[in-house]
Symmetry: C2
Subunit: 501 residues, 2 copies
Amino acid sequence: MSDGERIAPAQLGLGDMDPEEFRSAAHRVADRVADYLGELERYRVLPDLEPGEIRALLPQAPPQSPEPLDDILDDYARIIEPNVTQWQHPGFMAYFTSMACGPGILGEWLAASLNSNVMFWKNAPASTELEERVVEWLRAMLGLPDAFDGMFTDTASVSSLLAIVAARHAVPGLEATDRGLGGRAGVARLRLYCSTEAHFSIEKAAVVSGIGRSGVRRVEVDEDYRMRPDRLTAAVAEDRAEGWLPFCVVGTLGTTSSTSIDPAAALAAICEREGLWLHLDAAYGGTAALVPEMRSLLAGWERADSIVVNPHKWMWTPFDASLLLFRRPEVFREVFSLVPEYVRASATDAAHNYNEYGIQMGRRFRALKIWMMIRYFGAEGMARRVREHVRLAGRFAAWIDEDPDWERLAPVPLSTICFRYRPRSLAGRSHEADVARLLDTWNQAILEAVNASGQIYLSGTRLRDRYAIRVALGNLRTEMTHLERCWELLRAASQALDSRA
Amino acid sequence: MSDGERIAPAQLGLGDMDPEEFRSAAHRVADRVADYLGELERYRVLPDLEPGEIRALLPQAPPQSPEPLDDILDDYARIIEPNVTQWQHPGFMAYFTSMACGPGILGEWLAASLNSNVMFWKNAPASTELEERVVEWLRAMLGLPDAFDGMFTDTASVSSLLAIVAARHAVPGLEATDRGLGGRAGVARLRLYCSTEAHFSIEKAAVVSGIGRSGVRRVEVDEDYRMRPDRLTAAVAEDRAEGWLPFCVVGTLGTTSSTSIDPAAALAAICEREGLWLHLDAAYGGTAALVPEMRSLLAGWERADSIVVNPHKWMWTPFDASLLLFRRPEVFREVFSLVPEYVRASATDAAHNYNEYGIQMGRRFRALKIWMMIRYFGAEGMARRVREHVRLAGRFAAWIDEDPDWERLAPVPLSTICFRYRPRSLAGRSHEADVARLLDTWNQAILEAVNASGQIYLSGTRLRDRYAIRVALGNLRTEMTHLERCWELLRAASQALDSRA
């Protein structure tokens, strides 16, 4: 068959792909994806590539004429699928694992086909009301009170930015929304507090919102990497004395490095006393609240002004989906509902017009995939899976703790373990700085060796200036065998070091 | 079969949906979507619903136990699919039409299955390099010079916010990124310029970035709703004299109300002379540049500092996908690359680490769907389709112009027509204010009547304080017959008014 014959008539016309051509292509894609999900482990989790290798396989110039659909799908299978880092792979234990579960993928497929843009009710009635319900469902599943309203955004970075802008708006007398922050004599500079372990998205939000990096005060943490309430209280007092205007505290429930959990109740008490907005970044850790017996870890979070929990992290929702909950929806609407005429005519107050609560006017129909996932697994089924990841993390932590050549570097409240190799043989060495340097080098080498295997993908971090290897669990396909394999690879890499030493 | 028998074993376990269950469900979804796309017109484009009707069909509490997948998919078909506003429907001519083409939908399906998070190269090598190539392809297809770097974001609102924050960072001596805007004696207030017709996302960006609503100066437009360069020059001079700090001009190429196109070359000349950042919101209008003979409409846009064009608007890409192009990538990196340790170890300079150019750390794999669409239609095929929409819009405009009872209210440079019903019979009436009020009321009633038909969905706007009906074309399924039907419905609604009068 010549190329010309493989071009569908619709491609040469003025319209879209013909629905019957779509049907046959969609069935091909369905099989391709089912094969992919069933045989994930035939791929390296981290592909063996140098920058530029894929670019070289892709033409520099766009095609002028249509290409056969078969060629496009074949190129996908040949060039793209094997050469992404496999976020779906059970050996992906880097950063926070972030996988897309089956019912969630099907939800994305349906949402992409509808292309429903959830700007406001009239333009998306079923999508808006499903979002309302799914927010209510998640709120209940997390054990949070009905006083929280909420919505989905794309990422925790945006959720936290919205919360910080709302907090800024709520500062009495500042009128930041109308008047801005600049060039105003007699107006104090805003100060925001988070721990030294908080995610860098908080600093980005401060930069974007005109507060500036220097408007962020990083509060010290305790030995378990949790924000120290006494230091927060002292910092606020000191700043007030120096003429700053404290307005917001961002606590983290599950920090990115060590998954430490700031003491929410203590932060809430300080914020209530000082009149500060409490925003909680529970993007990862909030998922633990699906498990009733784990909620005590987050005790006090229900007193926050706003909370972000990301279903696309430890809740297996295809990227993207971030849940932003807030107590005072009117503050968000005051900032963000600059409603123009062409929208106003269609607005209704009986349902959420979600674009009025955030930056983005256009909003994806994210509730569908989450609705399908919750129904498919059931709330108890989701809790059971989270519990299993915590159990697996506990097992791995025990292996580390029981091996005298390895050292755990942080508590494991959730599903992530931070540790390093520190062989007994080093115990007698005297030069502490040398040892510290050596351990950093060794552990980086171990991480690289494990990642080079293609079977497991780990990331590193620094904890109290020590290089730490992280094992982050959360993929529904990760089983004890994968964890055992990870531990084997780590030990093999450490032994290879020893034999070289 | 009992409910219990319809629950898959995997649902009761600890893992994901079984790949073979996924396969059969995926084939069902493929057929469902093919049916949907083939029979779109069996649905009302605007469903006949009151707020709350869908909520009432959805349980208040989440299910505790798994539900059969069949039930979930059946509920989707029964509750959701018919009750969204049908953005895919050929009769959707409201706002800007925004449809998802077949190859784009398939691209979303594959992207959802990979769940590739395009943060930085190591975590997404093929996805990063495909994004680089597709940005280059689109840049070439739009006739823009290689000096533009770029990336995909979710929406034009975010693209414009990033550009404005970058522009703020580029103000010499301001150090807004580090020091923030507030509480600084002797620092002038920032001023941003856009036309009275600019999208409200620009004002939102000013609010978010701490410039404030009052930091936005709305420049007057000419009779065709284009920003007046003379007024811009005067405004900048006046503001400088009053102690403001002008820093950015946002021109719009294709405004939301009337699709007017600001004079890019004149704005560029002013910005070059005055040392201002020129950002161009070409979210809708930029697509016209796919057609070589239409590029003169945008002449001068290649001199901008940053440009946003939305593939998810008039380029048939499933929502979301916004292309942000910029000349000085280093400015974006200086603002946004607050790179922490756990990312730094994996960074490379040989490829883009896209999270360093924007707010969001997590980024969807948007390049895939656009790549598949460009290859499926070919660059010439995309140009041919845009040309057809412009031709259809010209035909509709001619019908309005030729009918003495209807009046066009704005030029039609692109694919959107603004007009109103103004019957000859009103010509003799004396009270101008009464006539104006009457026309507003009548045209709103006409719009409502057309929308109530369920066959066509239009939106309205105000142009020079006159209510205008808008017909926006851009859906690949919209053909002359739909346009004729729209015109019939409009005239029938106007005649119904006449007979009541």
